[in-house]
């Protein structure tokens, strides 16, 4: 990590853009400019064929590059807007892929398609106002529930927890949530039950827990039977049989953030014994 920071410092000293390929899994800093390899040139990564990314390269470049969180396109340049590690995911068809910056933060910014846990703060007319931890509350139509019609309203009270998905999330507009998928099914979304505990963790931990190869969840699942909901906005709702178990689970999940795999295994084995 320190080494990577040193490299980043060197970049600022030299003030020249680095190739994205060269800094994969290294620390990048806001304001830094990155270069994407032009696949059409046919030269290997890190070769002379690297040029600043051109969005309107036309028919010549058919490589599809997706810039995820922490990266921003500014004209034909690619700028870093968050500090963290640069990640890349190769697509199935080859070329391009997804680039994003893995950063650690607590403040949530709504993103279209994210599944989040919100708290209903107000009922006004035919929409609910839902607090999701963003800069402004999201709106949720009462028709956006499974099986809801004009006559058949969902039973939602102020203070209830909602698990839903963003359909509109722009920086200039009020975000909008729904609790149904494109087929009109609930698909797990909707009002969360009245029991259980809600707590906040960092966004990085949520991503870590939701990663497909995450062992923590499987290990936790072996301890007690539990119900758990992760919101990408850093909220976790967990429910076990007893209050004691729920508290233990919540504290374990919170502590997981700064534990190595070995430390975690020790704690889980100790818990399993008791």
């Amino acid at each position: 990590m320190a080494e990577a920071a040193g490299v980043a410092a060197e970049f600022f000293a030299s003030n020249r853009a680095r190739a994205a390929r060269a800094v994969l899994d290294q620390v990048v800093l806001p304001g830094e400019e990155l270069l994407l390899p032009e696949q059409e040139d046919g030269e290997g990564p890190g070769g002379a064929g690297e040029r600043p990314l051109r969005l309107n390269a036309g028919a010549r470049s058919r490589v599809r590059v997706v810039c995820g969180p922490g990266l921003r396109r500014c004209g034909d340049r690619l700028l870093v807007t968050k500090c963290g590690r640069l990640r890349h995911k190769e697509p199935g068809g080859g070329g391009g892929g997804v680039y994003w910056v893995d950063s650690q933060q607590k403040r949530y910014v709504p993103v279209k398609g994210d599944h989040v846990i919100g708290i209903v703060t107000a009922k006004s007319g035919d929409i609910f106002k839902v607090d999701v931890g963003g800069s402004e509350p999201a709106s949720l139509s009462y028709l956006a529930f499974e099986g809801a019609t004009k006559r058949n309203r969902p039973n939602v009270q102020v203070g209830d927890l909602i698990y839903g998905q963003f359909v509109v999330a722009n920086k200039d507009m009020e975000p909008e949530m729904v609790c149904i998928d494109s087929c009109g099914r609930a698909n797990g979304m909707g009002v969360i039950g009245q029991d259980g505990l809600l707590f906040k963790v960092t966004l990085g931990l949520i991503r870590k827990l939701l990663a497909p190869d995450c062992e923590i969840l499987q290990e936790v699942g072996k301890l007690y039977p539990l119900e758990i909901v992760f919101g990408m906005n850093g909220r976790i709702w967990v429910k076990a049989k007893t209050i004691q178990q729920t508290l233990i689970l919540a504290n374990i999940l919170e502590a997981c953030e700064h534990m190595t795999a070995d430390q975690r295994k020790q704690i889980f084995s100790r818990l399993a014994e008791s």
Binding site: G6, A9, I119, G159, D160, Q194, W237, I243, T246
Partner: protein
């Protein structure tokens, strides 16, 4: 920004957990969170951490004229501020109800309990007294601000030293810390607030409620007490009915807690005193590194220094003693100077020293120094503004090379310079050329 609302399920869970005598952070009913006290560089500055709640206390003093009705008493002033940094729900520049309540409680706890001897703050009766100002800033909010603030205030006051003054006739002399050691305030006792949160109309009680527990509590009882078990202030808010024996039980618990906290404070103060005497770094000042650049570091180039000493000794032993001529700098016009006598010069032969440098490596700055001096020696007359060559070097070998006497004094300098430039590796030549341009 609005406060994050508390959901129904959190509220229900918390209340049920409290019924089962369980708390979110695994504490027992009467447990305090961890208290940590750190001090700043100056006297009268401290940070108190109560779990995740942090309060910064800073005491300052000023000579003012006293109040008319209390001519011989110093003035105490307390101010607690809830910054937006602590929690986004706090609005800046507005006196919220909570803030007013906390400020009044603090004043009652610290001023009205007469824990500080205000008469000792008098300098000249009716004319000059000390005004002691205690500023408290909430840095992070995780519940129970009042306890943390009261600890921070009393710790900062105990830690504070005011400048010494002397009165001779009509003359008042204020001594700087260098002239006379600053004097501590005279503190009679240390009142400390202990908060009790009540739930279910007083059925359950918790000591030191955190932020979420504060949100679901029905009522709050704050007892300020000193270690002699004297109650300084007691305040009940939230409108709950408390029974007599409940209050008595709370005061008993408060007595125990205050004892513990007072001990902790005294230990922290002693520790700080000890470290200060030893001259070490203390408190949160420790974490601030002075005059150190932590970012933008250049990596060190590996240099083989295994046989530098032998090499240096070799050079010294081979070298002839320096010429007897002691060169005096000659001033031609203001701003220019000449070292040596005309074209004569006693600096080392550059080509030779260059080779030796290459063996040693890493001392290229010395050559730059040489060549620049040479340059100035030659073109002394046509240099208008002669900037001193700013090449700072502190390694020992370099100096030795400079001391090397001239083996080939007949050589013309300009030639030598060009020769070295050709011979020198590219990196050096670039550097040198830049330097040359600067000097010319």
């Amino acid at each position: 920004m609005k406060e994050t609302p508390l959901s129904n399920c959190e509220r229900r869970f918390l209340l049920r957990a409290i019924e089962e005598k369980k708390r979110l952070d695994g504490r027992q009913t009467y447990d305090y969170r961890n208290i940590k006290i750190t001090f700043g560089t100056d006297y009268g500055c401290c940070i108190v951490e109560l779990g995740k709640t942090r309060v910064l206390g800073q005491v300052s003093c000023e000579l003012v004229s006293p109040k008319l009705n209390r001519a011989t008493e110093g003035i105490l002033f307390f101010n607690l501020e809830l910054s937006q940094m602590a929690a986004p729900a706090f609005e800046p520049g507005r006196q919220s109800d909570l803030l007013v309540k906390l400020n009044r409680l603090l004043e009652r706890c610290l001023r009205n309990s007469k824990c500080i001897d205000t008469e000792s703050l008098c300098v000249v009766a009716g004319e000059k007294v000390w005004q002691i100002r205690v500023d408290l800033h909430l840095l992070n909010h995780d519940g129970n601000i009042i306890d943390a603030a009261s600890i921070a205030a009393i710790v900062a006051l105990c830690h504070f030293r005011r400048p010494d003054v002397s009165v001779q006739g009509d003359e008042v002399t204020l001594y700087t810390p260098e002239e006379r050691d600053p004097v501590p305030l005279s503190i009679h006792h240390m009142p400390i607030c202990v908060s009790f949160a009540f739930f279910q109309q007083g059925t359950y009680l918790l000591v030191d409620p955190n932020e979420r527990e504060e949100r679901v509590m029905d009522g709050l009882l704050v007892i300020a007490m000193n270690k002699h078990r004297e109650i300084c202030t007691i305040q009940s808010s939230g409108g709950i009915m408390l029974l007599k024996d409940q209050v008595l039980r709370c005061s008993k618990i408060a007595g125990v807690k205050v004892m513990e906290i007072t001990e902790l404070i005294q230990k922290a103060l002693e520790n700080d005193q000890k470290v200060r005497k030893e001259g070490g770094k203390f408190g949160f000042a420790e974490s601030i590194a002075n005059q150190r650049i932590t970012a933008f570091k250049m990596e060190k180039a590996p240099i083989d220094t295994s046989d530098v000493e032998e090499k240096a000794e070799e050079i010294i032993s081979e070298a002839e003693p320096p010429s007897e001529v002691v060169s005096k700098p000659v001033l031609w016009t203001p701003g220019t100077a000449q070292i040596g006598e005309g074209i004569e010069n006693s600096w080392g032969d550059l080509e030779d020293s260059e080779k030796e440098d290459d063996d040693e490596g890493g001392s290229d700055e010395a050559i730059i120094l040489d060549s620049i001096k040479m340059d100035t020696g030659v073109g002394i007359s046509n240099i208008g503004s002669q900037d001193a060559p700013i090449v700072l070097s502190d390694s020992e070998e370099e100096e030795m090379i400079i001391l090397e006497p001239d083996k080939n004094p007949k050589k013309i300098r300009t030639q030598t310079i060009s020769a070295t430039q050709e011979k020198a590796p590219s990196k050096k030549s670039v550097k040198k050329r830049r330097k040359k341009r600067a000097t010319n």
